[in-house]
Symmetry: C2
Subunit: 118 residues, 2 copies
């Protein structure tokens, strides 16, 4: 077998691997949703809000005070978290109390913590 023939064989093998790589890829939309979820965790304000809610529900005003932020800024971020089904809110009088809406929040955060603690 000549050198150029061998190269052809190698190319074919490589193409087969490439083919497999493409086939094994989850659907585009799935990967997009996954990235979209992590994007929500990818902001320190939202991370801080989720940490504030780890133990118990907290009203918007207290979150804003604890994080030294305006009500408006916190409300905007809570809305993003709510749309991603990560937190939920309930009204009680004048206040709206927010809490984590999913056990996965704790898991995802603790997964990330393991990586940076090294």
């Amino acid at each position: 077998m000549s050198a150029t023939e061998l190269e052809k064989v190698i190319t074919v093998v490589t193409n087969e691997q490439l083919q497999k790589l493409k086939e094994n890829m989850p659907p585009e939309e799935y990967l997009y949703d996954l990235a979209e979820l992590f994007k929500v965790f990818g902001d320190s304000t939202r991370i801080r809000i989720m940490f504030a809610l780890l133990d118990k529900e907290v009203c918007v005003n207290d979150i804003a005070e604890a994080l030294n932020m305006t009500l408006s800024a916190v409300s905007h971020q809570l809305n993003i978290l709510k749309r991603s089904k990560l937190v939920k809110g309930r009204r009680e009088g004048k206040s709206v109390y927010y809490s984590l809406d999913d056990e996965h929040v704790r898991e995802i955060i603790s997964c990330g913590m393991e990586h940076i603690e090294e």
Copy 2:
């Protein structure tokens, strides 16, 4: 106890909770790093690259072909992933083969998948 006195007591209790909330917050820098990590996962291109590397190492060219992207765009994203210690690369001849640099990548991705599969 009058209504206004009662309110003062309630305010004090609330302030204590606020104080605890502030004290229990991890240091600012830690939360920033955590958000920074998730930010890396929060892009569908980088997610796709990490999925491509789940099974075995792949060279930049093959990643680019599999994901239908330019070499340059893939290289830029690989660099971001490398800086976050999520992938590593090794040169073999003309090609550079990249692979996952941390078992946490799989864990974090699978954590995220659990949330969106519901």
